[in-house]
């Protein structure tokens, strides 16, 4: 084993890591917001909208990520008449995908707050909005931290799939280096270690937040 190949190509690989982290950050932001939007639509008063949201969530959750990416990158352009770049398509695909999972986490987080507290809040004269932002959300968000961070770590790993549609993120960069130098063991091991470090760090942040903001009882 000779890891000189990694040092030689370090700038290129680091650039790939940058793209991976940037994608993940964009998707975490976008997915969190899209999850809220989906949740709002799913609890809407209009039955048709509700049904559409439920159908969307179920369909996405039953579809592999790779297929979602392919649909966005290859399938949509002829229909909507606009061609995304591979990077745009991957970010959009990831957001569409992860939103359907995040919305379920929101639901279980909100459902974990006992109904009695909401009723007590309403009975003591708070408005629905006040109950939501002062009673339900502070507790629900804390309970959501572990599942949300699991989701974020999952997403960080998923960004590797973007290499399949030609985005030069970390995996794409490593594969390109391998195609040039053909030292697969060294390169794949480096790739694995890099992902491990990044993902483990993110899950440690989640654990820390979870203990820091745990609900004291």
């Amino acid at each position: 084993m000779n890891f000189a190949v990694v040092w030689r190509n370090l700038p290129y690989l680091l650039q790939g890591l940058g793209v991976t982290l940037q994608t993940a950050a964009l998707v975490i932001l976008g997915g969190t917001v899209f999850g809220v939007a989906l949740g709002v639509v799913r609890t809407s008063r209009i039955p048709l909208l509700r049904q559409v949201a439920i159908a969307y969530i179920e369909a996405i959750r039953g579809t592999p990520l790779l297929v979602v990416l392919f649909v966005v990158y290859f399938g949509l352009p002829p229909i909507i008449g606009y061609k995304f770049t591979a990077y745009q398509a991957s970010v959009i695909g990831f957001i569409l995908f992860i939103g359907a999972y995040i919305v379920e986490d929101y639901r279980s987080g909100l459902a974990s707050v006992p109904r009695g507290q909401i009723e007590a809040g309403l009975a003591s004269g708070l408005t629905v909005g006040q109950v939501l932002c002062c009673i339900t959300l502070p507790q629900a968000i804390r309970r959501m931290i572990p599942t949300l961070f699991n989701q974020f770590v999952r997403l960080l790993k998923f960004t590797s799939v973007a290499s399949v549609i030609g985005v030069t993120e970390l995996t794409g960069a490593a594969l390109a280096v391998n195609a040039r130098e053909f030292q697969p063991i060294e390169i794949i091991l480096t790739l694995a270690v890099s992902y491990f470090v990044v993902c483990y760090a993110l899950s440690l942040v989640g654990r820390w937040l979870n203990t820091r903001y745990a609900i004291q009882t």
């Binding site: 039953g62 297929v67 392919f70 649909v71 399938g75 483990y200």
Partner: protein
């Protein structure tokens, strides 16, 4: 919206899709068995009284869970290309090792959810440790964790689509091939999504039916 949908391509290339379907099914089922084997061993090790064994199993889980499945696949397919493993078995190894880590966490949680007194009672009444695990702890743990297992299983089936990247001719790969011939991208991928939905629902519902239903029986009896 000038796009004209043409769903007939799915029927026209049904042979390819069927072949892909059988590969996906094979990947999922063998991968599933592998993941369960890995998961039960590592998960049980995670509840061991021996500290080094617990640490080793915990390390395995953390390492395998924090590396993308795609990298697992490339590891066997590219990294160890000197071994010349067929791509199908590379995908199986990757799926079993990666998903095994998730199964292990669930198994560990399941075992820990069984009251310690149960195992102690088994040991006290003369069972060996292995018998106590096999006849007392596992059956109860299994029923407890059935829903999370169903989730992991459906995840594994969807993850098997990544095998197309290392050129296993499963569903996603075939959809790509059909797309290459007909340019009917949307139809091909929506078609296979439905197939995935079918497999995922069947396997996760079966898991729930087989194990979770009995959980309520146990609850009724005690």
């Amino acid at each position: 919206m000038a796009y004209q949908f043409d769903w007939s391509v799915l029927w026209q290339y049904r042979g390819m899709l069927l072949q892909g379907f059988s590969y996906t099914l094979g990947l999922s089922l063998i991968g599933l068995c592998g993941a369960i084997a890995v998961g039960v061993i590592v998960g049980t090790g995670g509840t061991s009284a021996r500290r080094w064994l617990r640490a080793a199993c915990g390390g395995y889980v953390e390492v395998c869970r924090n590396i993308p499945l795609l990298v697992h696949m490339y590891f066997w397919y590219l990294g160890l290309s000197a071994l010349k493993l067929p791509s199908f078995w590379c995908a199986i190894l990757a799926l079993a090792i990666y998903s095994g880590a998730y199964v292990a966490e669930v198994v560990r949680a399941g075992i820990q959810s069984v009251p310690r007194g149960q195992e102690a009672a088994g040991l006290a009444s003369g069972l060996t440790r292995r018998q106590a695990l096999l006849y007392i702890v596992y059956p109860q743990a299994l029923r407890m964790v059935a829903p999370s297992m169903a989730g992991i299983f459906s995840q594994l089936i969807k993850d098997s689509s990544l095998a197309s990247v290392i050129s296993v001719a499963e569903l996603t790969f075939q959809a790509g091939a059909i797309e290459g011939i007909t340019f009917r991208t949307f139809e091909a991928y929506i078609g296979i999504s439905v197939a995935y939905l079918l497999i995922v629902t069947t396997i996760s519902q079966t898991t729930l039916f087989m194990f979770h239903r009995r959980a309520t029986d146990v609850g009724d009896r005690f």
